[in-house]
């Protein structure tokens, strides 16, 4: 029976040829480990966010008078509404963690170097857009936490000279967070940002497919010798076919992602929903301790620590720009083996350590 169904599909679509051409003949390098699957895991995590987001849209009402109640209805009255809301909420946090680990891995493998500069830039742009999606998403439930986090987040750009006030006003759609802000954030969260993220994702995947996965300099040191002067796809002749070898690794990591997601859902369901998230937004009452989400704690603490607000926000902007254009700033002639580049390794580790310190500091300050 199963064989007949497969044959029926095969005659009409030519699935075997598709799998052969795009998966079996597409070789992954010898050094492709579980870490190399994190881009794919991010893709699955993004699809999960899109699916759960669309489902929440069926009951969510983007209006200040109804938004909080509609989210409470989803959580408490709609069958399994709590599950999809929590998957969306927790998934939105884990996806950021997965992207950060993916970026650290790419950085430590120095995979961003020629000819993969555009792949890195599209990746960082996607990361920044995902952060924006997180910012816009936190206001939608119209609870105290989201409302005041948005107030703080939309005030920070106003520290920038000349354009700062304009950016803040543009974000809020006025002088303060209101129903107009909710409408703006809603359209950005559900339409504008996802469209740009998907466009960048297509470009990112297309580039990876065209160039082939980058090799590990530790496993294939010869590949690191001289960057190509004309386009060539890395054949990875000694590597394994993407399907089924690498696909099994990918599937395992996707399962691991779901394990982490459901572990948090089961044992720490309120990890990313503080007590104030159960109180409707009150524009006249600021809760005692308003902190940004964990991934914004480091820049938040940095801005708080530096007495000059302009300098604080400028540092964050400069760091983001350096991260975005890093492939063009890294030494051209240097090799890809990070073990032979102690300066680069130290720089990466120092930035990571500082980020961790500022995050923990921000959590307890």
């Amino acid at each position: 029976m199963w064989g007949k169904i497969v044959h029926w599909i095969e005659v009409r679509i030519g699935l075997e040829e598709l799998i052969n051409k795009h998966l079996r003949q597409f070789k992954t390098p010898k050094g492709a480990t579980f870490w190399s699957t994190l881009g794919f895991v991010t893709l699955i995590a993004f699809i999960l966010q899109a699916v759960t987001g669309i489902m929440l849209l069926l009951y969510y009402i983007p209006h200040p008078e109804h938004a909080f109640k509609s989210v409470q209805t989803i959580t408490n009255e709609i069958p399994y509404g709590w599950l999809f809301r929590l998957i969306h909420n927790v998934g939105g946090n884990i996806i950021v963690a997965v992207i950060i680990i993916h970026m650290v891995h790419v950085f430590l493998r120095v995979s961003y170097k020629k000819p993969r500069e555009i792949t890195w830039v599209t990746g960082v742009l996607m990361f920044l857009l995902v952060l924006l999606a997180c910012i816009t998403g936190q206001l939608l439930p119209w609870h105290q936490t989201g409302f005041w986090q948005t107030t703080v987040t939309s005030t920070i750009p106003s520290f920038l000279p000349v354009i700062g006030e304009g950016i803040s006003s543009y974000m809020r759609g006025g002088a303060s967070v209101s129903g107009i802000t909710l409408s703006r954030f809603f359209s950005f969260h559900v339409v504008i940002l996802p469209v740009f993220i998907v466009a960048l994702m297509i470009l990112h995947v297309l580039l990876i497919r065209r160039q082939g996965l980058s090799t590990s300099p530790a496993v294939e040191p010869e590949a690191d010798a001289s960057p190509p002067e004309e386009f060539r796809r890395e054949p990875h002749l000694e590597g394994h076919p993407c399907f089924p070898h690498f696909s099994v690794k990918r599937s395992f990591m996707v399962m691991f992602y779901f394990t982490v997601l459901f572990f948090i859902l089961t044992f720490f369901p309120n990890l990313f929903l503080p007590a104030e998230a159960n109180i409707q937004a009150d524009p006249l009452l600021t809760p005692e301790a308003i902190r940004p989400a964990w991934y914004f704690l480091a820049p938040y603490q940095l801005i708080k620590t530096i007495p000059n607000d302009v300098m604080g926000i400028s540092l964050v902007v400069i760091f983001s720009l350096v991260l975005l254009f890093w492939p063009f700033l890294d030494a051209k002639d240097a090799g890809r083996n990070i073990r032979k580049r102690p300066m680069l390794l130290s720089l990466g580790l120092i930035v990571l350590a500082l980020w961790a310190i500022f995050t923990i500091w921000g959590m307890y300050s």
């Binding site: 069958p79 399994y80 999809f84 099994v248 599937s251 399962m255």
Partner: protein, 136 residues
């Protein structure tokens, strides 16, 4: 069983379990919630509907029309046309209910007079006292 085959089978099992775990709650989630309308009663004063007139009301989220028929008293009918769901209106000049969408006509008992509808308009029970009419 080979190691790779075991891994594949385990992944297929886990994948199917995950998919089913998602599809079952998703199908439950998509079922529209039960109406929050309660089985309450609605009372209106008789004075509001003189003979030969009608009053349009919403009762338990359903649009109704209460008609004071000349000679045969009050009746409450659903305004939802049994053809395609448009709302019928009371035509006081011809003593009938008319659907504006496809020209369906109903008499003041809710029965089909003409047009594409085949079922009569649902009737709602009334309790009539000296001054008031209670629906439900």
């Amino acid at each position: 069983m080979e190691r790779r085959q075991l891994l594949k089978t385990s992944l297929a099992f886990l994948g199917t379990t995950t998919l089913i775990s998602f599809i079952y709650p998703a199908s439950k989630f998509l079922v529209p919630p039960k109406s929050s309308a309660k089985d309450t009663q609605l009372t209106i004063n008789k004075d509001e509907i003189p003979p030969g007139t009608a009053k349009e009301i919403i009762f338990n989220e359903t649009p109704l029309v209460v008609i004071n028929r000349k000679g045969s008293g009050f009746i409450a009918l659903s305004r939802i046309c049994t053809h395609l769901g448009c709302l019928v209106g009371y035509d006081k000049f011809n003593d009938k209910l008319v659907c504006p969408c496809h020209a369906g006509d109903f008499d003041l008992e809710g029965k089909v007079l003409s047009g594409p509808a085949t079922k009569p308009l649902p009737r709602y029970p009334l309790k009539i006292t000296a001054d008031q009419i209670t629906i439900g």
